[in-house]
């Protein structure tokens, strides 16, 4: 079984559907109810909510092979003009929510004897994208957390990696205009726009049995010209 947070929309939705097409059993997690079978309502900012969801999944009694953390939010704002509640919401969702999710769900994978964790970062981290300071800070935290977790879970045969996409057309980037998208694409090594399938291809690569030695890494979609 594979858990996909943010499985109701955008990349998470695409990844969950594609995994089901490949005959994986998937549990989707997001706040709002959806029509999907195997969907659990859960706010990743809420630790108790996650604990309850953990119990529900554990009670299914099926081995969990992977956790894919797509749940996330973004907001373009200058560092000095980002409202306090927006700062808190971005950090609470992207960073703290991702840490909670990893901490609460990792034991499900430990029980299975091996597995994969994939967290989502962004190209905005490596290129220090203007207008996305708080979002980038939250995702830089996710990258660092994932690296340390990779070390701590290595003995359990669990790999932990991040995927860092550039702009992919989902609700998340609705507020970004075409010029801004083009400017971000210029920072990728491969200067073209990638899509949901390209992200899923990297997910498949990480989930593959051949990738058991790939851990603590950040996979940029299209490569990036950043400082790392």
């Amino acid at each position: 079984m594979i858990i996909v947070t943010g499985g109701s929309s955008g990349l998470g939705k695409f990844i969950a559907q594609s995994l089901e097409n490949d005959n994986h059993k998937v549990i989707r997690i997001s706040r709002r109810s959806s029509n999907f079978e195997n969907h659990l309502n859960c706010d990743i900012r809420n630790y108790e909510d996650l604990r309850k969801t953990y119990k529900k999944i554990k009670d299914l009694g099926e081995p969990v092979f992977a956790l894919i953390n797509c749940a996330g939010i973004a907001s373009m704002n200058l560092a000095l003009t980002t409202p306090k509640n927006v700062i808190e919401n971005i950090i609470n969702t992207n960073l703290i929510g991702t840490i909670y999710t990893n901490q609460v769900f990792a034991p499900l994978i430990i029980r299975s004897g091996k597995g994969r964790i994939i967290n989502f970062s962004t190209i905005a981290v490596s290129i220090a994208l203007e207008g996305e300071s708080v979002y980038s800070a939250s995702k830089a935290g996710v990258e660092c957390f994932s690296k340390v977790l990779a070390k701590e879970l290595a003995n359990f045969k669990i790999t932990v990696n991040c995927i860092a996409p550039g702009p992919i057309r989902t609700n998340l980037i609705r507020g970004i205009n075409e010029v801004q998208i083009k400017n971000i694409l210029k920072n990728q090594i491969i200067k073209k726009e990638f899509n949901h399938q390209d992200v899923f291809d990297i997910v498949k690569l990480i989930l593959s049995p051949d990738s058991s030695s790939l851990t603590g890494m950040v996979f940029p979609v299209g490569g990036n010209n950043g400082f790392r």
Binding site: R51, K55, K58, P107, I110, E152, F156
Partner: protein, 95 residues
């Protein structure tokens, strides 16, 4: 409920019998510099205790703030761990 001896038995089985009963008692350290248990073993112990709790119908939360903020860590030794486990059991049963 769980006894200190049961916790010691779990510790030994989680260690793949590398830890010997004659070298381990209810006051032996589970964490810290004097521990003969590594972090891998500690997580496995937590999971085994979670399973044991499920068997007897309650939820053992080894990450709870209350558990972690006790004067000495619940993981100090099998004695402190048994006390916390049984405390959580009683609290949930009396709810």
């Amino acid at each position: 409920m769980i006894t200190e001896d049961e916790i010691i038995d779990i510790v030994i089985s989680v260690s793949d019998n590398k830890i010997k009963k004659e070298n381990f008692n209810s006051n032996s350290n589970l964490v810290g510099p004097n521990s003969i248990f590594d972090s891998l073993g500690l997580v496995q112990l937590c999971i085994a205790l979670e399973d044991k709790a499920s068997e007897i119908g309650f939820e053992f939360d080894w990450k709870s703030e209350k558990a972690m903020s006790t004067m000495s860590s619940i993981f100090k030794n099998p004695e402190s761990l048994a006390i916390e486990f049984n405390k959580q059991f009683s609290e949930q049963k009396n709810k």
